[in-house]
Symmetry: C2
Subunit: 233 residues, 2 copies
C-alpha cells in the first residue's frame, strides 16, 4: 500500500505528532510506503483564491469550482496543489492527522481540502459517494482533543462526536468516493499523564495493525436514488 | 444594535456578496450600526501559529490555546487578532456570510475562528454554552450552496444540513455562549435564474426584518450537568 498522511499541528513535540510518527513507523514496518504532507512545516497556503490558477477561464466572474475544473483539464493548477494531487493519486490510504480545533479541522487542513480536492477529479456531475473520483481508496481520521470521552454521545454535554465529523467524513471524504474507516480518537490529551499517553500509542499501534479488519462507515449508495437524486421508493 | 458581518467570498460580484450587501443595507435602514470583516479583501491570515503571539509563555512546548489565554491577559496577541476581538466585543449580533465549501466554512473563515475565538475570553474552565464568554450576544449563519434543498433532510441523499452545521453552530458559536439564530440558506445558487436570485434576496430581507421574532436554536444548559459535566439524573 501507498499511504499519505496529511498532518496539521504547529508543534513538532506534540502528541498529535507522536501519533503521526507512530503511524508512519508501523506502516513502514509492515512494508508499506508512506508519504507525509506536514502542512505547518510546508507553510502550506490554505486560501482558495484566483492565485490557484495560471490563468482564469472566466476572469470577469470568478467561480472557484469551475476554475478548478478548467485548470485541472488544462494542467494549469498552482504547482503546490498539483504536487498534493499527485500524492493522493499514488495513495491507497489517506490519513488526516490533526488536533480538533472548534470541533473541526484546523484551517490549514481545511484549506488543503478546499484547494486540493478539485472539481473534475474528486467529484463532478454524478460522480460522488460510491461513484466519487476517489472510489477504491480508503481514508481515516486520527485526531486529538481536550474533552473526555464521556462528554460525547447521545445524551452527553457535547452530543455525538460523529455529528461533528460529518462535514469531513461524509461531506468530504465519502462524497469524494473514499471508503472511510472509523476514526482513531485520543481524548483529553493535554491533561493526561505520560503513562496514559503511552497507552494511547500502544492502542493506536494495535488499531493500525488491525486496519484491514475494520468495518468502513456506511454512506449512501447512488444506486438508491433516482436521476434527480431523490430517494427511490 | 451593533452588527458584525464576517464575510468570506473571493468574488465581489458573487451572490454571497450580494446577500452580505443586502444585510448591511437592511440593518442600516433599521438604524443599526454594521461593521464588515471582508476576509478576502483584508487578506486575512487563517493559520494559527506561534506568530500570533508577541512572545511565548512556554517556548519549549507550543500549546496554542494556552498561549492564547496567556497573551489575551498580557495584551500581547497579534494586532490583526486584537482588532477582530474588539469588533466582536462591540457586536450584539455576529453573522458569518460564506459559500459552503465541503459542507463547511472556507478555510479563511475557519482560520478567523481558530485565531480570534481565544481561550480565556470566549471560553475557559466551566465557561461554555450558556455560560460562555459571549453570552448575551446573538449569532447567525448566512450561506450559499450548490445543492438543491430536497437533497438535504433525514432520508435525503446528503442527510440533514443541520448535522453539517454542528461544528460551527454548536461546537463553536453555542459553545462560546452565542444565542444561535436559525441559518439563512440559499440553495442551488450557481444554477438558478437571475429572477430566482432576486426572490432569494426578497426572502432574505423579510427574514432580516423578522429577526427579533426568530426562535433561537436550542443547546445544552450547563445547569443540567454535574461538576464533571455528566448529565444530572
Amino acid at each position: 500500500m501507498n499511504i499519505l498522511i496529511v498532518h496539521a499541528h504547529p508543534e513538532s513535540k506534540s502528541f498529535t505528532t507522536a501519533l503521526k510518527d507512530k503511524a508512519q513507523c508501523v506502516f513502514e514496518e509492515q512494508g508499506h510506503s508512506v508519504e507525509v504532507s506536514d502542512l505547518y512545516a510546508m507553510n502550506f497556503n490554505p486560501i482558495a483564491s484566483q492565485n490557484d490558477f495560471a490563468n482564469l477561464n472566466q476572469p470577469e466572474y470568478f467561480n472557484y469550482a469551475l476554475e478548478q475544473r478548467h485548470a485541472y483539464k488544462q494542467n494549469s493548477l498552482a504547482p503546490d496543489i498539483q504536487v498534493e494531487i499527485e500524492k493522493i493519486k499514488r495513495a491507497d490510504l489517506l490519513i488526516f492527522s490533526f488536533p480538533l480545533y472548534w470541533t473541526s479541522v484546523p484551517a490549514i487542513l481545511k484549506g488543503w481540502i478546499d484547494r486540493v480536492f478539485v472539481s473534475g477529479l474528486f467529484y463532478g456531475g454524478k460522480r460522488f459517494y460510491n461513484h466519487g473520483g476517489m472510489a477504491g481508496k480508503k481514508a481515516m481520521l486520527c485526531f486529538t482533543l481536550g474533552g473526555r470521552d464521556y462528554m460525547f454521545g447521545e445524551n452527553a454535554i457535547h452530543g455525538s462526536i460523529a455529528e461533528y465529523l460529518s462535514p469531513i467524513q461524509r461531506g468530504t471524504l465519502a462524497y469524494a468516493g473514499f471508503e472511510v474507516l472509523p476514526p482513531f480518537i485520543a481524548y483529553h490529551v493535554p491533561y493526561i499523564s505520560n503513562e496514559d499517553r503511552q497507552n494511547i500509542l500502544i492502542n493506536f499501534e494495535a488499531y493500525l495493525n488491525d486496519l484491514q479488519n475494520l468495518e468502513p462507515l456506511t454512506f449512501p449508495l447512488i444506486e438508491n436514488f433516482d436521476e434527480k437524486m431523490r430517494p427511490l421508493p
